[in-house]
Structures are given as structure tokens and as C-alpha cells.
């Protein structure tokens, strides 16, 4: 009996198929190394990712009291997410240790993972941590990333940034920006959400916020407890 191959729809995967896709940014030719990074990112422990997401997903006003103004000592409520983040960070470093990549590849990775569109909320935390791990283990000391106009805000950007590393971000970031910073320099030309510098050991974080122009932006700034337009945290 002539049995039909269940994969016959994929007999020929040609460039035309890819070109027709709506995900132009995904389907264009990108270096094999970015493919590997994407693969490694998908291997992060999903259980930890979910646990971290559950924390990030809860209304942050519950923990507003523990905002960066009084974050010198981590309150107990933050121990668990920081532990998850640390685990994901170590896992990210371990997974990518054998890959040779440049800062251009990291930027490409960020774009491919959908940050320019609407990234799924449970990925925004791990993505920030994974990117931070890539920046830390990259041979280049300087990383600049433009996320202006992106719909999704990365959490944990600059996590554990080490001495000698310099990261500049154009645009707004999410919660835990610069968390566990370890000697690196992080500059954000935009806004950050809650818990910036949580568990920061040493280093410098500079946030240059744009002047809030609308009542909504002012309200948001009040909500997240961001007091000034330029904020510098040095430890």
C-alpha cells in the first residue's frame, strides 16, 4: 500500500516560502550564530521562567514600598524573584558559553525575539536576563540598544552587569532594571519601572528621563515613584 508521507507539505522549503512570511524580520537571512542563540534561549528552564513571570505579572503597587529609593537591603518579598533571575542568568551564561557572538548578534537576537512587536509578557523577564548574560560574556565591552517605540518593555535589563561593561539603552525599560549590578555602568535614556537597582552590589546606573508631557506620563511617574528627571545611583 502506498503510504502518504505525513511531512509531504514540507518536501521543499524554499526561499520563496520564507519570503512570503509576514515575519520579515524573522525570515531574513541572519547569521547562524543568532539561530543558535535563539535555540539556547528556548532551552531556559520553563518552570523558572513561569515562576518569575508569576511574580512580574502581579500588580507592582503591592511592592511599591520596596522601590529603588529604599532598596539598599532587599526585602524578603524580592528574595524569590531575584533567586529565579539569578538561576536564569547562570543558566543563560552556561548555555551560551561556547558561542562566539558580537554585540550586533545580540541586537539581532533582541529584534528576532519579537521585541519590536509585542513580546509575550512571560518572555520579557527572561529576555532581559538572557540579553544581560550575553552582554556580560561578550568580548566587546560596550553595548548600545535602541528599544524606542517597542511595545514590550524588558525587565531585568543590565542584570549582574560586571565591571568594565558599559550598556546604554535608548527607550523605556521594565522592572528590576540594573538589578544585581556588579560594577558595570548602565545608562538609560528613558523611563524605568519598579525596583530599579534591586540587589545592586556596585557600579553606576544613570537614568535620563524625558520630561513627562502628558498627565498620564506624570501619573505613571508618580505611580512608580520616579522623583526626578535625572537619577543617578552609584554604589
Amino acid at each position: 500500500m502506498n503510504r502518504r508521507n505525513p511531512f509531504s507539505a514540507f518536501k521543499v522549503i524554499t526561499a520563496t516560502h520564507d519570503a512570503r512570511s509576514r515575519f520579515d524580520h524573522v525570515e531574513r537571512n541572519y547569521p547562524q550564530v543568532v539561530d543558535e542563540l535563539l535555540m539556547k534561549f528556548s532551552r531556559l528552564d520553563q518552570d523558572t521562567v513561569q515562576r518569575l513571570h508569576r511574580f512580574l505579572d502581579q500588580p507592582m503597587y503591592n511592592i511599591r514600598e520596596s522601590n529603588f529609593n529604599c532598596i539598599d537591603e532587599l526585602p524578603e518579598i524580592l528574595h524569590e524573584p531575584m533567586e529565579h533571575a539569578r538561576r536564569l542568568y547562570e543558566s543563560s551564561c552556561h548555555l551560551t558559553r561556547d558561542i562566539q557572538y558580537t554585540t550586533d548578534d545580540i541586537r539581532e537576537f533582541c529584534t528576532l525575539t519579537g521585541l519590536s512587536g509585542s513580546a509575550a509578557s512571560e518572555q520579557t523577564g527572561p529576555l532581559g536576563i538572557f540579553t544581560a548574560a550575553l552582554v556580560n560574556t561578550c568580548s566587546e565591552p560596550y553595548f548600545e540598544f535602541n528599544c524606542r517605540g517597542h511595545q514590550s518593555k524588558l525587565h531585568f535589563m543590565g542584570f549582574g552587569l560586571e565591571s568594565g561593561k558599559h550598556m546604554v539603552v535608548q527607550g523605556n525599560l521594565g522592572h528590576f532594571t540594573g538589578a544585581a549590578l556588579n560594577g558595570g555602568e548602565l545608562k538609560i535614556n528613558g523611563e524605568v519601572d519598579c525596583l530599579c537597582a534591586a540587589g545592586m552590589i556596585k557600579g553606576r546606573i544613570k537614568i535620563v528621563s524625558e520630561k513627562p508631557s502628558t498627565p498620564a506620563q506624570k501619573r505613571q511617574r508618580w505611580f512608580y515613584g520616579i522623583p526626578e528627571e535625572i537619577l543617578e545611583i552609584v554604589r
Binding site: 508521507n5 507539505a9 518536501k11 512570503r20
Partner: protein, 400 residues
């Protein structure tokens, strides 16, 4: 929905146009006067019987020892409407399973097989008079959609232009339809007579109301055109990814309603960890059928990702049984849809995101699987998504 010859479950608050809209669609799509549609409608209520829904014995002939079935108008007409289906008790819902699924209506030793039909069922939200729709019946619907409130501005216009129902009625033709439907003639012969009457009603719609409706031949041509539109590779790959997430279980081999996967599974983050049941084989059929119809409607030459993405939430919403925790988390969220559709939309976004990240690799894996199945000496492409594991399993190379 009517053009895809599918089955739709329309949910919503009472009085938001669920039944009325399907009656109008049925009238225009199949050229049947509104009064005839009303006569064929089945109402869901606890006293409903098989004899009222499907057919009854001809008692006169039965007395003479002859078994003859008088079919209900609901069974005979191509447009079928079950109003407030969730007011039918669970036991009585089983009576229409076969008919809803395949258009086969059986009574005594006789049967009517509808070659062309579409079914719309309406359901109000749960109240004291409603029952649960049983899972096998739920699964037989291709889509579940909500009939929403049109908003204050549009709703404010209702009633300003008289009653449209009178326009879609034609009492003389309704009487003719009634006569043909009541005749004791074979089904095929009856269909021909009904077709002639439908053409007359189409003529009425065209001349009196300036509405072009579809003739039988035009509808057949449309079905043929829809059936010829090819699916592109992304459609095929993404559909498999969706099926994989809703059917895969690393621990128990596949999802089963009675088996609850525990914490600590590597695949917890995928949707298999968020649902209780396994997606049925009717799902891909519904997804393909509706995506194809949408592509035809939009005049597209191939059925692609965007068509599938648009129809998926509505083909999944009623088929997925979410874990209580997931429902509880989403119930309080700001949303624009009923929680089932909201959850399905979120699920589709999640899978789409994963497809965005891995589409290249997924297609490579499927292409390699094709080559391996054809006997080529190629290594399978591995990855983390359940689909990669399913591919390996199908190739007989499952990881221990």
C-alpha cells in the same frame, strides 16, 4: 460560516441578536423566506423530543403496519438553527450529535443525509435554566463566537427604520415552501422542488430589495473554489505547533482528561501544562476549513499564517479545558472577550510568539522529517518545543 458549511456556536447575553442574525444570514445565503426559517428552528428546552427535532412516524401509516418517517423541517432545510441549545438537558443533547457532526439524521430505520448544510446554535450565558453543553457536542462546533453589544451609538439606531423582518418574509412563497416540506416524497426530489422555490425567493430579493443572494450553482462554485486554495508552508508548520502544544504530554505520552501533569516538568511553560484535555481531531479540520474560507473571502491565493491566526482563537475557545488556576488568573484581567475566547487569544499569541522565534528551525525539522521518511540518510533537527519531540517520535527516534 455558512460558506464553509460549518457549525457555529454563538454565545451572548439575551437580546443581543444571536438568533436574529443567523436567521437573516440563513435567509440570504440559502434564499429561504424568514417565515420558513422560523418554522424549521429548534428551540432548546427541557421538554424537547427527538420527534420534534428530527422526525416522527406517520401514525396513519403505522396503523396500517407501514413504517414511514415524517422528517422535521429542521432536518430537511440546509440552514439549521438551534436556539438556546444549552437549555436542552444533557441527555437530549446526545440526540443531535450525529446530525450536527455529519448532517446524518436518523429516525427509526430511515435517514436523511444533508449534502449541503450549515448549523448555528445559540447559547445564553449560564443562568438557572441552562445546562452544560456536553463535551462531544461542544467539540462538534467549528467555532464559538460571541454576539456582542453593538455599542450605544449603533444600538441607539435600532428601530428607526421599521421592522426588517417584514422585508425578508414572503407569505406566498412561505406557503409553497410549507407545502413542499410537508409532501411525502423522496428527499432528493424534495430538494429539487425547494431549489426552484429558492430561486423564486432569490428573484424576489433581487427585484424588491435589490439584494443579490447566492443561487445553488453559485454556492457550489464557491465551495469548489474554497476547496482548491492551497495552504502555505507556514500555515502547515504553525498548525502542527498548535496541535503539538494541546496534545503533547511528556509524562503520559499524550494529554488525557483524567491525568494531571505535575510541577517540575520541563514543558511546564508550554500550553500542554495549562490545559486538562487533549485537542480533538476535529480541530485541525475546523481550522483548515475556516482559514480557507477566510482566504477566499479576502481574495487571497494561498491560505497562510494570518488566516490561521485570525480563526484559531474561535476554533480553540470551546475545545480547551483550562486548568482552574489559568482560568482564575485570567478572569480578573482587563479583557474584551468572554474568558474562554480571551484565554484562547492569549494562547494563540503565545504559540505565535514561539513560532516567530523558531519558525526557521521548525520548518527545517519538518523538512528533514520528510527526507528521513523518504529513506534519506539525514539527521533529524532537534529542538525544545513539543513538536520536535513529536517529530522524533513519529520517526521512531524518540529520546529515552
Amino acid at each position: 460560516m455558512g460558506l464553509s458549511q460549518g457549525k457555529a456556536l454563538i454565545i451572548g447575553e439575551p437580546g443581543l441578536g444571536k438568533t436574529t442574525s443567523v436567521e437573516y444570514v440563513g435567509t440570504l445565503l440559502h434564499r429561504i423566506p424568514l417565515g420558513t426559517i422560523w418554522r424549521a428552528e429548534v428551540s432548546g428546552h427541557p421538554e424537547q423530543t427527538e420527534e420534534k427535532i428530527i422526525g416522527r412516524p406517520d401514525l396513519g401509516k403505522l396503523n396500517l403496519g407501514e413504517e414511514f418517517v415524517i422528517w422535521s423541517h429542521f432536518t430537511l432545510l440546509p440552514i439549521k438553527i438551534v436556539d438556546e441549545i444549552n437549555r436542552l438537558p444533557e441527555t437530549k443533547q446526545s440526540m443531535i450529535l450525529n446530525g450536527v457532526d455529519r448532517g446524518n439524521w436518523e429516525y427509526l430505520n430511515d435517514a436523511v443525509i444533508n449534502e449541503e448544510y450549515c448549523l448555528f446554535a445559540t447559547a445564553n450565558y449560564q443562568d438557572r435554566g441552562t445546562n452544560t453543553i456536553i463535551a462531544p457536542l461542544m467539540d462538534r462546533f467549528d467555532v464559538m463566537v460571541e454576539s456582542r453589544h453593538p455599542g450605544a451609538n449603533l444600538a441607539g439606531l435600532l428601530g428607526t427604520n421599521g421592522n426588517p423582518e417584514t422585508l425578508l418574509r414572503n407569505e406566498a412563497l412561505e406557503a409553497d415552501f410549507q407545502a413542499v416540506l410537508s409532501e411525502r416524497i423522496p428527499y432528493q426530489e424534495r430538494l429539487k422542488k425547494l431549489g426552484t422555490l429558492s430561486d423564486q425567493f432569490g428573484e424576489y430579493l433581487s427585484t424588491q430589495l435589490h439584494i443579490h443572494s447566492l443561487s445553488f450553482e453559485e454556492r457550489q462554485l464557491i465551495y469548489e473554489q474554497i476547496g482548491r486554495i492551497p495552504f502555505d508552508v507556514d500555515f502547515e508548520a504553525f498548525l502542527r505547533m498548535v496541535i503539538a502544544e494541546f496534545s503533547f504530554c511528556h509524562h503520559y505520552g499524550q494529554k488525557r482528561s483524567g491525568e494531571v501533569c505535575g510541577d517540575g516538568c520541563h514543558f511546564t511553560g508550554y500550553l500542554c501544562g495549562a490545559v486538562k484535555n487533549c485537542i480533538s481531531n476535529r480541530f485541525p479540520k475546523s481550522a483548515r476549513n475556516l482559514s480557507r474560507t477566510l482566504a477566499w473571502l479576502l481574495g487571497d491565493e494561498t491560505v497562510g499564517l494570518q488566516h490561521l491566526e485570525a480563526v484559531l482563537p474561535f476554533t480553540l475557545a470551546h475545545r480547551i479545558v483550562w486548568k482552574d488556576q489559568n482560568i482564575a488568573e485570567s478572569e480578573e484581567e482587563y479583557r474584551n472577550d468572554p474568558v474562554e475566547i480571551h484565554l484562547a487569544k492569549k494562547a494563540v499569541q503565545q504559540i505565535m510568539r514561539r513560532y516567530r522565534e523558531q519558525s526557521h528551525r521548525v520548518k527545517q525539522a519538518l523538512s528533514a522529517a520528510y527526507s528521513i521518511s523518504e529513506g534519506e540518510a539525514t539527521d533529524p533537527v532537534e529542538g525544545d518545543h513539543p513538536l520536535f519531540h513529536i517529530i522524533l517520535k513519529d520517526l521512531g527516534r524518540e529520546a529515552p
